[in-house]
């Protein structure tokens, strides 16, 4: 039987300053989970971009709204969930930032980076309101320290 995941969960106010808090938390969780330096940076960046989406685009920087961040360390993977109180977005409806005509766009690379850095990325509009993003990173080798 698979072991219960180790869980780290925080609730944050919609303030961009809290993105740095999440960055630090990601560093600790990914280190504890045993990812190598390159994967730690990739996961940290994916969570960072997701937090910015939740605070800035989802909750519109409204400090009265919350963002929930949850890390679950499984034997074979790390799952990260970011939930906001916004109206959601369609990840399939984002212009390809690598297309020639979009290369010099100022924005529009966040979701692309998350997809590039994580093994799985899902967006779910919640029935009670809000959006939940799930990101999964699997261990590629025996680098996990447990």
């Amino acid at each position: 039987m698979a072991a219960e995941p180790s869980v780290v969960e925080v609730t944050l106010e919609s303030d961009l300053k809290n993105v740095e808090v999440a960055d630090e938390l990601s560093r600790r969780v990914t280190t504890r989970a045993g990812f190598d330096e390159e994967d730690r940076q990739r996961i940290e960046m994916a969570v960072h971009e997701s937090l910015i989406n939740a605070i800035w685009h989802g909750n519109k920087n409204d400090a009265s709204k919350r963002v929930w961040l949850k890390y679950e360390i499984f034997d074979d993977r790390l799952e990260v969930r970011v939930r906001d109180q916004g109206n959601g977005f369609d990840p399939t409806n984002i212009p390809n930032p690598l297309a020639e005509e979009n290369l010099l766009n100022i924005s529009g690379r966040g979701i692309f980076l998350i997809r590039s850095f994580m093994d799985d990325f899902r967006v779910e509009k919640l029935a009670g309101g809000g959006t939940e993003v799930t990101m999964i990173k699997r261990y590629v080798s025996k680098s996990k320290s447990t």
Partner: protein, 119 residues
């Protein structure tokens, strides 16, 4: 650590030494203002030294693109110097490495502005 920037003038080139985090909010706003200020003073040859940048996110990358476009639109040149591995990888993955003129030697980078201006 938030973003810090120190500006030097070397010959006709404005060198901006950036350190810290270029991220959505303060870091991006600072960089945007700095580029605007230099353009308004007529400083159109700009070399951005990113050697001490500890972190850059998608908004920071967007800010570099914005700076590149603003300088180019005024007939100037913006080049990047001393990319860390993280920044280098991000520019590669976003295909922007081919857009920016990236250098790893300051003297050679300074010289390249003069060559292009005189070409």
């Amino acid at each position: 650590m938030s973003m810090k920037a120190n500006t030097r003038q070397v010959d006709s080139v404005t060198v901006i030494d950036v350190s810290g985090r270029i991220t959505l909010g303060e870091g991006c706003a600072q960089l945007r203002q700095l580029i605007r200020d230099h353009l308004s003073k007529g400083n159109k040859n700009i070399l951005v030294n990113l050697g001490d940048v500890s972190y850059i996110d998608s908004s920071g990358i967007g800010e570099l693109v914005s700076a590149y476009t603003a300088v180019s639109n005024q007939g100037g040149q913006l080049k990047l110097l001393n990319l860390t591995k993280k920044v280098h990888d991000l520019l590669q993955i976003t295909k922007l490495y081919t857009v920016f003129d990236v250098r790893d030697d300051e003297a050679e980078a300074i010289g390249s502005f003069a060559k292009q201006a005189g070409a």
